[in-house]
Symmetry: C2
Subunit: 165 residues, 2 copies
DNA sequence: TATTGTTATACTCTATAACTATA
DNA sequence: TATAGTTATAGAGTATAACAATA
């Protein structure tokens, strides 16, 4: 574990080190991803969050803004101006839901789908840059484990009740 | 999101889905960690970032503020008021570097070391909560892979030159 | 001239409350 | 009363520039 020099304060020996800290690793990976992904989504109004919205819109029936917000784990208040921006650039459209006059259905336009595919290619390259030191197997392993934790995290955050430890 | 019904828009079949998106997973894991870790570091002035500072201080020689900032990948401008806060609570001390009158050495106090160990126990429980759906092997695997990516990310972010593709 | 620490400023992201129109 | 969408505001976190003291 590369505890090269002095450990007079009992640091590394007790597992107390920055490079083995989960919070530090998450912070570093998160900021590194943002760094490499920023230019990939630079021409997308709304940036990385807008990309997630487009991905969520790419399949299935047109969702309401609230359903969309829950799907990508964004607040519905940010969904409003995110969609404002995307709609102003003709990447999505909003139409009234015929079944519920409070709700609006969100649809991906053809231009939006095209743009999504462009951004997606850029992002694939950026992700490869982030995981450059991992071989194919390890990269897939990391993606899979992250996805699993992400999904359980989404489920548990969506369920605010039932806290019987 | 249970891709049970229609895939008429060729979403999942081309790998274009939210639950397999690396950026989404990183975002979710990052926010989930922040959620579970927040109360663990609630009584620490400066929160999660202050914890990283204390960890970095727990071993080795007392670093300068700049060296400390580089070690935890924080800006030196935030290090200033982070240390202001920690010092005001007697968790760290600053003293002039006898070898360089511009620099100040940062030291962990006994109270700081005690507090660090308390927070560390809380964080261990919070991390377990985050990784609850992973068995011991998978959890270690994820920690290891994240740490590897984090370290290469730190190295590459610290070296802004040498961009010969 | 370059570096250490500090201060100030701005921008992004996030969180919350309040309002409307519908149900 | 509750829900969908909107608007406004406040707070973290981050990034940058400028400054004083020292090298």
């Amino acid at each position: 574990m590369s505890a090269s020099t002095s450990d007079k304060h009992a640091g590394e020996s007790s597992g107390l080190a920055l490079d083995t800290d989960l919070g530090w690793a998450i912070r570093m990976v998160s900021s590194a991803f943002r760094r490499v992904a920023t230019e990939s989504v630079a021409d997308l109004p709304g940036g990385a969050r807008a990309y997630l919205v487009l991905v969520a819109l790419a399949s299935g029936e047109p969702p309401s803004q609230l359903a969309l917000a829950k799907a990508v784990s964004l607040d519905r208040t940010v969904m409003t101006y995110l969609l404002d921006d995307l709609e102003a650039h003709n990447l999505v459209t909003r139409r009234p839901d015929p079944r519920d006059r409070r709700a609006r259905q969100v649809l991906l336009t053809d231009a939006g789908r095209t743009r999504l595919n462009q951004v997606r290619e850029n992002l694939a390259a950026a992700e490869a840059k982030l995981l450059v030191d991992l071989d194919e197997h390890d990269a897939l392993q990391l993606r899979t484990l992250l996805a699993r934790v992400a999904q359980t995290a989404q489920s548990s955050s969506a369920a605010p009740a039932e806290t019987d430890c």
